[in-house]
Symmetry: C2
Subunit: 239 residues, 2 copies
């Protein structure tokens, strides 16, 4: 457990800083660093946009330069869509998240200003570039969206997963399903369903396949017994 | 290639419909269906929020009920954070995306209204539930964020990936690195670096390791030759 820092370089709108904080906390990231935010810090527009992720904003640290912001980081990832003059290995968010989990030191995901993205000099500070594979004909990922995708990928390595509280009912044992199949067959025989008689075997095989693949639980099977019985009654009443 | 539909059930704000459209198109999804949008359709707030994803909005189809919206779908996934009374298999976005790629029919990712999420009756229409694993102490995923995470996971199975246009320079062949190491060694020997002499072998091994792991390309190696040479000149000049 060694969560990455999120570093926003020269962010412009307080609203976007707040949204980034919200995206972070959704996936368990809490350490935000701001490099030269355009409108200073704190910024009154950040809080409302954070939708309750106030702790992230309250603990945000401010630095004058990216170099100052990453002094304690061993792995620095620059997120940038555009191809820059800097030649560095380009990772997907997925690969970067795995690299963060595999590394012992502190990692930082660095994001540029809203419009322009990171400058070449910022990218030069990083060890790797992260590029989100995106629709080549419509690449329009905003700051908070980029943050959430990175935070989300990182969180996959964590124990955030929220499995269903109550386990799903498992499929009924074969014996129960077999009894149900026999119930169907009995009542269908009675109703004259298997006609002509020489196709009985193949029709029955189809029915068996259909019922077997349902994955019905004990309760499902019980309910179906009731349904088959009731349908039979209805038929008898009619005749 | 069988992209899933995105279905927004009773969306409230046009702005959020626009943001969802933008999130979709970022990852190559274009088919949007709206079930009973609160403020009717079209909605003037959607366009600006779509940031250019107008084609998605223009082609959006409107339905009265979720059942009407999914008549042509074979696999219906209901996204919901909260545990409902409905027992269905719960998938992560990743597992759902893989299921969509593996299936032949049309798939739909269904999202509920902004505040309340999907009703139990909506979830009942679905084959599976998708839950985004999220910080249990701060789950605050908005509609467009949920859409983008699903679209992003789906896009991983596609050929959207944008590798660097220019391949990175590969590491230089071993021979070139070896020449560089020897250049270092020659000049360092000359400078009296390997002292005391009985530690020469181990120091040299360390140097070799350090240089080998750089992954330096042909051009990097050439540049380093120049640097080593220049440093040597500087030293000779001084002495």
């Amino acid at each position: 457990m060694n969560p990455p820092l999120i570093i926003l370089v020269r962010p412009q709108l307080g609203e976007n800083i707040g949204k980034a904080a919200r995206a972070m906390l959704n996936f368990g990231l809490t350490e935000l660093r701001l490099v030269a935010p355009r409108d200073g810090w704190p910024n009154p527009d950040a809080g409302p946009a954070a939708s309750g992720a106030d702790i992230v904003l309250a603990n945000a640290q401010v630095f004058d330069s990216l170099a100052d912001a990453v002094t304690d980081c061993t792995h620095i990832y620059a997120t940038t869509v555009r191809k820059r003059g800097v030649s560095k290995p380009v990772l997907t968010p997925e690969a970067a998240a795995k690299a963060v989990h595999a590394s012992a030191g502190r990692s930082a995901f660095v994001f540029g200003p809203e419009r322009s993205g990171l400058e070449t000099d910022d990218v030069a500070v990083a060890h790797n570039i992260i590029t989100v594979p995106i629709n080549p004909e419509f690449g329009s990922l905003n700051l908070a969206q980029a943050v959430i995708l990175l935070a989300y990928e990182w969180s996959k390595g964590q124990a955030l997963a929220s499995p269903p509280d109550v386990p799903l009912a498992p499929p009924a044992p074969h014996e129960e399903m077999e009894e149900l199949i026999q119930h169907f067959v009995r009542d269908l025989d009675e109703a004259g369903y298997f006609f002509p008689a020489d196709r009985r075997a193949s029709t029955l095989r189809t029915l068996r396949t259909t019922l077997t693949k349902t994955g019905w639980s004990h309760n499902d099977v019980r309910m179906m017994h009731g349904i088959v019985t009731m349908l039979g009654r209805k038929r008898r009443d009619r005749t």
